[in-house]
């Protein structure tokens, strides 16, 4: 509509492994749903939990992680709003974590939603809960799941691991007493798992799962690093459908295999100069989960030739990274050898996980600002979009400090308020108008449509 300008266009094409991703995700939800029919076990917990540990119970153990499920609910707004009503009717404040409320709502309604939006009657109750306490709500979330199920007469045993020991630097060894605090909890957890499931624990499976998780999270970082190329072979909207595998099954071989395939395809796209967005001319990154019901904001950006090449969220939630002495931020390589014993496995995975970027910056805003700055430099980014996400106390933590910090370094920042899982907190029209003003102030105009 407004005056428009012409830019050169890059060739573009859909991802070949797209279907594979779709099916992986679909099967995951259905495997969990039907686990019992195959005599398998179901467990529930967070995407941040040490999912490699329950893997030692056998190959027929399926989980459903809470955050991705909450996001799936959010994506289908009608179902989401039913979930919110149900939790508010139960007396919970509407300001609580939106994923959590979506998840509880699903239990209260006793309905389960699949990735294609199909709503199945009867919420599939897990055999046990295996969680990590990473923010104020993570253990409380499942403590309430337990409580809600109990009201329905179902006992769900719960185990949650406290990881609140801070984060280690990339340049000095982790403090043993902190690592051991977590390792000991995991050891206790394994005994607990054997007790509640009556199964014999298999350390070999544990070692495989741990190694898989480390590979998956390292390879995903490599994929993200490839996106430094101009034009970007991947855009963030696509990456949402790819990083999610890591939130669902980071410890599983399918996940590793998929990320390796993806890495090769992305390399090939770069070789052939294939762009995710043909009109790329302005690169941005975002931060925290997007308002899942409104991914169209990314389409709106493309009208200006602006493409989001990623976010600390997609890079750092699943990807493992480390700082080099020269200050560059690079994928974290695997340790020399795969762990062989239970203790090695636990020590290794704990030391690995404590470096998770999205976890580390919960403790210090400077660290997050620094990592975003590195991404801006290394990924050749023009501006940062900060989602002040009312849905997540964890990832919105310090976000104002990050805006402040980035402004100091002279990086243009566009903050917008919203909610990853509750549309009532997101003002689409208003946000679009502001985004429009932002791009204009950056001297961008809409391209011919």
């Amino acid at each position: 509509m407004t005056a428009t300008t012409q830019v050169k266009e890059y060739p573009t094409e859909p991802l070949k492994c797209w279907e594979q991703a779709k099916n992986l995700r679909k099967n995951y939800y259905e495997d969990y749903l039907h686990a019992h029919e195959k005599g398998g076990l179901r467990w529930a917990g967070g995407a941040w939990s040490f999912s490699a540990i329950p893997a030692g119970l056998g190959e027929d153990v399926y989980c459903i992680t809470g955050e991705p499920y909450g996001a799936t609910v959010a994506f289908f707004k009608d179902f989401a709003s039913k979930c919110h009503d149900a939790t508010e009717a139960a007396g919970f404040p509407r300001t609580l974590c939106a994923y959590m409320r979506n998840y509880w709502g699903s239990i209260l309604l006793d309905k389960y939603i699949l990735t294609d939006g199909t709503v199945v009657d009867g919420y599939p109750v897990p055999n046990f809960i295996w969680q990590n306490h990473i923010c104020c709500s993570h253990s409380k979330w499942y403590q309430l799941v337990k409580w809600l199920e109990k009201k329905k007469g179902k006992e769900v045993p719960m185990y949650s691991v406290d990881v609140s020991v801070g984060y280690p630097s990339d340049f000095s060894p982790e403090e043993d007493y902190k690592v051991n605090y977590i390792v000991e909890q995991l050891n206790d957890g394994i005994n607990w798992l054997e007790k509640v499931t009556g199964r014999k624990y298999n350390d070999a499976l544990l070692c495989d799962a741990v190694w898989n998780e480390m590979k998956a999270t390292s390879v995903w970082a490599e994929v993200c690093a490839l996106n430094q190329a101009v034009p970007a072979p991947l855009d963030e909207k696509t990456m949402y459908s790819l990083y999610v595998m890591g939130t669902l099954m980071k410890h599983r071989p399918e996940c590793v295999a998929f990320y390796e395939t993806l890495r090769e395809e992305v390399k090939d796209r770069i070789k052939r100069g294939i762009a995710a967005v043909s009109t790329e001319r302005f690169r941005v990154i975002t931060d925290t989960q997007p308002p899942w019901g409104f991914l169209k904001i990314f389409r709106e950006m493309e009208k200006y030739g602006a493409v989001s090449v990623g976010s600390l969220y997609t890079f750092g939630l699943i990807g493992m990274w480390q700082y080099q002495p020269d200050g560059t931020w690079t994928p974290k390589p695997l340790p020399p050898k795969k762990p062989q014993t239970r203790d090695e496995a636990l020590q290794t995975i704990v030391r690995w996980t404590l470096h998770k970027p999205e976890w580390a910056h919960f403790y210090e805003p400077e660290l997050k600002t620094k990592m975003m700055e590195s991404i801006v430099k290394q990924w050749k980014v023009n501006a940062v979009l900060l989602h002040y996400n009312r849905g997540c106390e964890g990832l919105s933590l310090h976000i104002a400090e990050n805006r402040y910090g980035l402004m100091q370094t002279g990086i243009p920042v566009f903050p917008f308020e919203g909610n990853m899982g509750d549309e009532r907190d997101f003002d689409l029209a208003g946000t679009m108008a502001r985004l429009n003003a932002f791009f204009e102030s950056m001297g961008l105009k809409k391209l011919k449509e």
């Binding site: 300001t95 409380k140 605090y181 002040y388 919105s396 933590l397 402040y404």
Partner: protein, 380 residues
């Protein structure tokens, strides 16, 4: 006399900053602010430091916008606002004992934007229901003690720790004794007086505070407190220093006979076992075993059991559940808390506190709740 004591508490609260400055003047020692009651004040007392709790002012915290997104609780923003406005410019240091993300933000913003000599974050474990928490916290306290020694240049001996532990234990002990007098009908002190007692304790030298508590204990037994109406209420929530609200509610013909607030009984309920060889381990076990903040209270709801017990012991007929808007750990527990109290015949009513409390609206809700408790029986 009693009234003088309570007046003194009030005077300390209203002039807390003057008090702290005068204390520094008088003793030449350091004053350290703390954000959460998980900070072991014992160790600070052992280092001859005066610990004072940082609290807000109940005015819209407009200056905090650049540093804390307004979806975090008004308390954490209000505390930071005080710092940014220079109200706590006399602090030599600030310490946070890990509790919630909200206060962690206040701590970090303070560290980054307010000139201060010393800052320290104690990674107090959340897994307080695991057997691994006490040894881990002990290590954390060892580091904290070392850091204080480095900062103050004072070597903290076991005798110093014993002193610190004793000062805190005695003060908590006395406040528990005073609370006993809330059980009588009518109680010997109001909810507002009880709140002011604890707030004062968090702001002044505990030994001075304890001396007043001892006077109080001598005279409370003979106190005849005139109360209009006899509805016994409990108040439950996170941080709450809203004295105006307490007064307004108690003026409607009710009395708060017990509370479950970290500015109330939760602060002083549990003591430390004295005479242990490993003092820091003894401290660690107190802070792990104490009445927990909901952020640490999982997988079991031990705080709910405690609240129910208090309600019964103190004969509360109803309870107001105060939710500091945006506080997830407390907000999550509202329905379980409601049900647990209902199960023992204690009705509850939830109120959401924001930076300012719209008394006009709350008055109607509270009055209606009180009418509901009495049933206006004789009028039907």
């Amino acid at each position: 006399m009693i009234n003088e004591v309570f007046a003194q508490f009030r005077q300390w609260i209203d002039n807390r900053h003057e008090y702290a400055k005068a204390w520094k003047e008088k003793t030449g020692n350091r004053v350290v602010g703390y954000l959460c009651t998980y900070v072991p004040e014992e160790i600070l007392y052992a280092a001859d430091i005066l610990p004072v709790r940082i609290l807000g002012s109940h005015e819209p915290p407009t200056v905090t916008e650049p540093y804390i997104f307004a979806m975090y609780c008004h308390f954490c923003r209000d505390c930071l606002a005080q710092g940014l406005k220079g109200k706590f410019d006399y602090l030599d240091g600030i310490v946070e004992g890990q509790s919630c993300l909200h206060l962690r933000q206040t701590f970090n913003a303070w560290r980054l934007h307010i000139p201060i000599d010393y800052t320290y974050y104690i990674y107090v474990p959340h897994g307080v229901q695991t057997v691994r928490a006490i040894p881990y916290l002990t290590q954390e306290l060892v580091k904290f003690k070392q850091s204080l020694e480095k900062w103050t240049g004072k070597n903290i001996t076991n005798q110093d720790l014993d002193k610190g532990i004793h000062v805190m234990n005695r003060n908590r002990e006395l406040m528990r004794k005073v609370s006993e007098y809330r059980k009588t009908n009518p109680p010997k002190l109001t909810g507002l007086e009880a709140m002011e007692m604890v707030l004062a304790s968090q702001m002044v030298d505990k030994e001075e505070h304890s001396r007043l508590l001892e006077q109080l204990l001598q005279e409370l037994p003979n106190r005849k407190l005139k109360r209009r109406g006899d509805i016994r209420l409990m108040i439950i929530g996170s941080e709450d220093d809203d004295r105006v609200f307490m007064k307004n509610v108690e003026d409607l013909g009710a009395t708060f006979v017990i509370d479950e607030h970290c500015t109330g009984t939760r602060y002083f309920w549990d003591n430390i076992k004295e005479g242990q060889e490993d003092r820091l381990a003894a401290l660690a076990s107190r802070y792990v075993m104490r009445v927990p903040c909901p952020s640490k209270d999982w997988p079991e709801f031990t705080r709910l059991k405690h609240a129910v017990q208090l309600a019964q012991e103190y004969g509360a007929k109803g309870a107001l559940i105060i939710q500091n808007k945006f506080c997830d750990p407390h907000g999550i527990e509202i329905p379980p808390l409601r049900d647990a109290l209902a199960a023992v015949g204690v009705q509850t009513y939830p109120l959401e506190f924001d930076v300012t409390v719209p008394w006009g609206q709350f008055r109607t809700r509270v009055e209606a709740f009180l009418e509901q408790l009495t049933g206006l029986e004789e009028l039907f």
